[in-house]
């Protein structure tokens, strides 16, 4: 009877060994989807010339770049869109003027639809669930007051600065393009 127990125990051990030889790589292979995909390098992009931006009227600019998809790289794709809002026409275009342009991600913080500009009311609205935002990106309550604003937070403000091109001496708007998790009251950078 002793021998029988030993044989059972050996069989069990060998079976476990075989199962783990495949099981450990198998699980790690499945979990690879959780790994952070390769960094897409420089996120800072020149998106528009300052003189092309009208004051008080938002302009949507596409963010172009290489999109990595598993084994493929699409070299020139629209990665997302950014709303640029120029607040005032400043005479000086130095460092202090940086604050005059704001850049907002066009992705709605609610569920990720593309935020549109409502020209009549001059504010932002998301067509999916009627989230409303002012030109400062903050949430706005609908006039009727019947419906609550579905967005959990204001539009995502992106880092933005003005730079002067060395050769043409033109002032450009540079935006650091980032994506954030949807549906959260706090801004969390997407992994």
């Amino acid at each position: 009877m002793r021998r029988r127990t030993l044989l059972k125990w050996i069989s069990g051990c060998l079976a476990t060994l075989c199962a783990s030889v495949l099981g450990i790589p198998g699980v790690s292979f499945v979990l690879q989807a959780l790994q952070k995909s390769g960094s897409d390098g420089d996120r800072v992009r020149r998106v528009a010339r300052l003189k092309d931006l009208p004051v008080g009227k938002p302009v949507a600019v596409p963010i172009l770049g290489a999109r990595e998809d598993a084994w493929t790289v699409h070299p020139d794709e629209v990665l997302g869109r950014v709303w640029l809002v120029r607040r005032k026409a400043a005479a000086n275009e130095g460092a202090e003027a940086t604050a005059q342009v704001a850049a907002f991600s066009a992705t709605c913080p609610h569920l990720g639809c593309a935020i549109q500009h409502d020209a009549k009311e001059n504010r932002f609205q998301c067509p999916c669930h009627r989230a409303l935002f002012g030109l400062d990106g903050e949430r706005v309550a609908a006039k009727s007051g019947v419906q609550k604003n579905p967005s959990p937070r204001a539009m995502d403000l992106l880092e933005c600065r003005l730079v002067t091109d060395e050769t043409t001496q033109e002032v450009w708007v540079e935006v650091t393009f980032q994506k954030f998790e949807q549906g959260l009251t706090k801004r969390v950078l997407k992994a």
């Binding site: 044989l7 060998l14 790690s28 499945v30 690879q32």
Partner: protein, 642 residues
Amino acid sequence: MMQSFLNWLDARTDYRQLLAPIRLRVLPAGPRWAYSTASCLLWLFIVQLVTGLLLMLSYSPSTTTAWASVHFIEQSAAGHFLRGVHHFASHALIILCGVHVVRVLLARAFQAPRELLWVTGLLLFPLMMVWAISGNPLSGGLKGVSQIEVEGHIIGSTPWAGPLIQRILIGGEEVGHLTLTHLYFLHVGLLPLLVIGLLLFHIGQVYRHGLSVAELGGPQDDVSRWSSPNLANLVAAHPTPTMPPRLKYFPHQTVRNMTVVTVVLGIISVIAWLHGAPLDAPADPTLPHTPRPEWYFRSLFELRRYFVGDWEFVATIIIPAAVLGFFVFFPMLDRKCSPRVSAVLRVLVVLFGVGTWSGLTGMSYFRDWNDTEYLVSSSETDVLSVRARELADRSLLPPEGAITLLRDDPKTQGPLLFARHCASCHSHADASGQGIVANEPSAPNLYGFGTAAWISGTLDPQRIVSEHYFGKTKFAEGDMVSKVKELFDGIEEAEAAKMRDDLKLVAQALSAEAALPRATAADHDAQAPIVAGRELLSGRLACTDCHKFRDQGELGSAPDLTAYGSREWLLGMIGNPQHERFYSGDRNDRMPAFAEDTEHPERNLLSPRELNLLVDWLRGDWYEPPTTSVPAKSRNATLAGN
């Protein structure tokens, strides 16, 4: 607590009764190591299901994505290992299938009532092979895809339904997206279902006949002499004095099975970890390749040599079907024989079968080992595979897929383009003659063109008239040759040595004009000699009397030395050698203009893409992975050395 749960479960599912055949199975003749082949086959089959399912997570069947997704799998250690196990376990399955069939044959385990066990087993064997080869082209590699092309033709050349089946398999006339989706359907859909169905029937028969006849009392003792593990069950109720006490299958046989499975899986894992499954270059009909079947089809490949033309289907269909038919009906033949005759017959069948199979297989490999043409082609394929993986490891692939890797690679395409367009006159071979040698060299050997070593040859009175330079061209009688000879006319040995040193500087200066990517570091370190060489060029040595060099000299009488050998210079020279910058008017020897028409590039001998690839290759301008930069450097050193 556990016990009460199991009781609860049993009351609802009767699982104890369902598992009884397994739990209570006995082995009257005792456990044996030889019995393990069946169990090992089953477990390897499960290994294939598990690894195959996991690979499906990241595999994408289409001509643009297949190779790329397999390379993606190979990028991770886990993917590399799983694909390796999947690959090598498929070979192990086929070997074990063969061992199992031979063992069953020798054990005479096909006797009534186990005919169906025997027949399903025999059907499973070729089905396993087809299953295995249907997986090969899925990687989108050169080898696998050319295999399926040949296999398609074999099916197509079969009379009657052949062409129809070929079209369905390939999904049209040529290998493409549908070939891969069809093979994927076969490999992960239809064939697994067929194999699982047959396997369940096969295993069901083992238990059916193992227990039921035992209850009836079992046959004579002489049968048990030839008992298979399954047949042994038949005599469970009749223990003979020589037999050990009745032992249950579990764990006495199980521990043996598990040991064998662990050893086999261990060997497979080690090979998979160390070598991984092969990944050839992405399939591309323009790349040279000589297809060969897998080792288990080598015997049929050899057999096909003896049936040519319309009779090929005899070797590919009739003979394999006849062999299978012979084995299927072998039990009927065997039944007519006495046990002694049967034993001899079965040993003879095994010896003859294994002998013929290995004879044909060996002959096929022997032919290849003596076929230099095949060996060259095979090593070229290996080089392409390594190169494709080097390029794919560098960055992600473009949306057009992996086929662009080698198509846009100067190192791969350069020699092909040179051989096609340039090698009727030019060679491209190093000092030892390695490389592309023209049949009748009648123009300069372009190996190392633009390097200081190559340029020195044009400044050496002996070498410039050799066949490596102007010897076989009309320039042998030209001004350049006479000018170079003049330099050494009537001067003392000491002066000649000084002249050679000066010309070395000139060669260095001209080589710097080419700005070869492999020489940039060396050029950077040798600024002083380069400047000195430039001064000699337009000064004392008066090259600029005929040649233009930077702002000295005029165009029209000799090739421009400004940016000599640079990318742009070579593009112009190959594009149109009769341009004013090179050999205008009747000064051009026989060099054709390969891209004269800039407005209609499609009319030219070389497309802009091909021209760029050729020039990049001539200049050694291609990507080398960082790890192999050492051999690249040493190659450059030998280049400069001649």
